[in-house]
């Protein structure tokens, strides 16, 4: 027979332990205190934030690599617009729950990186005041063209235009992606390479099969011809 309300007391004990523990055990803390002074011992994932005026704002590479806030567009090595991965298929626009992506497809196709010529986004806006950082756009993109950024210094004096990120604000290189989210980027690259290899292998196999088939057909035809000749003889 359990004590009535015992569960509540047990829960309260847990929260009390956390409450007290968070004052003594820094590794418990799940978030970083921006203001920890240099020289203090920091937990592994902690970053630093400038406290004094004039100090440089911290860049996104110092945030935990698991943090994310708003999406960005990826391009491969080279000139940003020449190597943009996005093909303006507008899947993400359709899937975004709060409908904060706006895409305008280009009118003509563009060649890039040895691939087939494809469309590109003439306009690609994300309203980050509406975006809820759900990462669904990232999940649905079939071209690995959109991933999450962790840039957080987004404050602006204009509530509407200032929070509407344009295509050129959103374009970031794959190198930058590797810098802020190394694990995720490496995994993504590996997967892309595998997929590409698989695709190539398949292509090759398909080509091989086609060649074989053609050969067989030719052979059969040749045989048939022979037979015909024999028959007529």
């Amino acid at each position: 027979m359990s004590l009535l309300g015992g569960g509540i007391l047990k829960g309260m004990a847990v929260t009390l332990r956390n409450f007290v523990g968070s004052y003594f055990d820094r590794d418990r803390l799940t978030t970083n205190d921006y203001a920890w002074r240099a020289g203090d011992s920091l937990p592994q994932h902690a970053g630093e934030y400038p406290k004094e005026e004039g100090e440089q704002l911290r860049d996104t590479t110092t945030v935990s690599q698991y943090s994310r806030n708003f999406p960005m567009l990826l391009h491969d090595e080279g000139e940003a617009m020449d190597t943009i991965r996005c093909v303006a298929c507008q899947i993400c626009e359709r899937e975004c729950p709060p409908q904060c992506i706006y895409i305008e497809k280009s009118t003509e196709k563009m060649e890039r990186g040895g691939n087939k010529a494809q469309f590109y986004p003439a306009k690609f806006d994300i309203d980050v005041s509406v975006c809820m950082s759900c990462q669904i756009c990232v999940e649905v993109c079939p071209f690995d063209a959109i991933v999450m950024n962790s840039q957080f210094e987004l404050s602006t004096s204009n509530r509407f235009g200032g929070l509407l990120l344009r295509r050129d604000d959103l374009l970031k290189s794959n190198g930058y992606y590797h810098k802020i989210h190394p694990e995720e980027a490496a995994a993504r690259d590996r997967r892309m390479a595998e997929e590409k290899a698989a695709k190539e292998a398949k292509k090759k196999a398909a080509a091989e099969a086609a060649r074989k088939k053609a050969e067989e057909k030719a052979k059969a035809e040749a045989e048939a011809d022979d037979k015909k000749q024999e028959d007529t003889q």
Binding site: M1, L4, I8, M12, T15, F19, S22, T30, A35, K51
Partner: protein
């Protein structure tokens, strides 16, 4: 009106209107800080000495945060939905604040400067406790008004939930207070507090302890605190009745809610925790007010702690808990209190016996009610899956 009377009334009321909003500001900081620590976060710690750029080296644990919040609230845009009832949308936050502020007068806090003007103190009214309950009930109307005026389904749902919840929990709340009123034989708040002078707090009696627990639980529900915060459940109905409120109107709601928390905790202190009684008040009378406020804060701290601990109830659980558990228990407690009162308690043995027997009865009843209310679920047997 005689100028003396005006002066007395001002002295009696203005400090209440200054002290409690200040405490409110402090409490918001305390709550954010405590909840953060419970979740292993740090909480607000940047805003320090007012209006310095970064808080810098004088961040003072982020104590400037309420000020910054207040300024932000003041400057925010006041948005009224197009189809809203503009008049009621404006009136609701005001109506939510007024009763909360009003009932503070019924708390027998004896500030040093109010001693000379006791005749105008509202808590000396013969029906102070009744008035308290009557006026806190008005809060419900404000919430309904807000929910209805916003023209928003979520707001209306929140308003309806609030009414249902507050009407239900008012009954155990009042019934648990009745025990004390019965024992003291007065509805006068000052008399109730005086009856517990020294260490004769009612919470140190078996019936008082039970009544205090019931009262506290019901007061959580009355003030929409977690785990009974269904009317403003963020994850279900966004923020309930104040979904459509922004800026200063929202701040008024927020203020009203916290003042109501202070008020109802103050009543709990008056009824069960000895009012301003505490060590040292014989020599230093002003300590009495300090003790009173300290006790209020102890209760608030428990509320915050519970908020960090418990998940929200479901609507049917909420109603069931009020009607099928708290209500019978509080009625039984009245009976127990009556018996305990008439059994002579001269020596320690009879005292202990009374404690054991009354708490035993109450606990068994609670246990029984718990069993009766068990939802009828058995482990499922899967017929078709293997």
């Amino acid at each position: 009106m005689s100028p003396d009377l005006v002066r007395d009334i001002l002295i009696a009321t203005v400090p209440l209107m200054v002290i409690f909003p200040t405490l409110f500001a402090f409490t918001t900081w305390l709550e954010r800080k405590a909840l953060a620590r419970i979740q292993n976060r740090i909480g607000p710690n940047k805003v320090g000495v007012p209006l310095t750029r970064y808080g810098g080296r004088f961040s003072l644990f982020g104590l400037g945060q309420p000020l910054a919040d207040g300024i932000k609230m003041l400057f925010k845009e006041n948005i009224v939905p197009r189809d809203a009832d503009r008049l009621f949308h404006l009136l609701a936050p005001i109506l939510a604040l007024i009763p909360a502020m009003l009932v503070l007068c019924f708390l027998p806090i004896e500030f040093p400067w109010t001693e000379s003007l006791l005749p105008v103190q509202a808590f000396l009214l013969d029906g102070a406790v009744i008035f308290f309950f009557a006026i806190t009930g008005l809060n419900t109307l404000a919430i309904f008004m807000a929910g209805w005026a916003s023209r928003n389904k979520y707001s209306l749902l929140g308003g309806m939930r609030a009414i249902a919840q507050m009407v239900s929990y008012e009954i155990p709340l009042v019934l648990s207070a009745v025990v004390v009123v019965m024992m003291v034989g007065s509805l006068n708040a000052a008399e109730i507090a005086n009856a517990q002078a020294g260490w004769n707090w009612f919470v140190f009696t078996p019936w008082g302890l039970a009544a205090f627990v019931i009262f506290f639980i019901a007061s959580l529900a009355e003030t929409n605190r977690s785990p009974f915060d269904l009317p403003e459940a963020e994850s279900e109905i966004i923020a309930g009745y104040f979904t459509e409120y922004s800026g200063f109107k929202f701040a008024l709601f927020f203020l009203g809610e916290y003042i109501a928390m202070f008020a109802i905790s103050g009543l709990a202190v008056t009824l069960f925790l000895g009012g301003g009684a505490g060590p040292g008040i014989a020599t230093l009378p002003w300590l009495s007010a300090m003790w009173f406020i300290a006790k209020i804060f102890a209760l608030i701290a428990v509320m915050i702690w519970l908020r960090g601990t418990l998940p929200r109830l479901r609507v049917d659980q909420l109603m069931g808990f009020a009607w099928k558990f708290l209500l019978p228990l509080s009625i039984l407690n009245i009976l127990v209190a009556g018996f305990a009162h008439f059994i002579p308690q001269e020596n320690i043995v009879s005292k202990v016996a009374v404690w054991v027997v009354s708490l035993g009865i109450l606990y068994m009843a609670a246990k029984g009610l718990n069993q009766l209310n068990r939802p009828n679920v058995r482990p499922r047997d899967y017929k078709y899956a293997e």
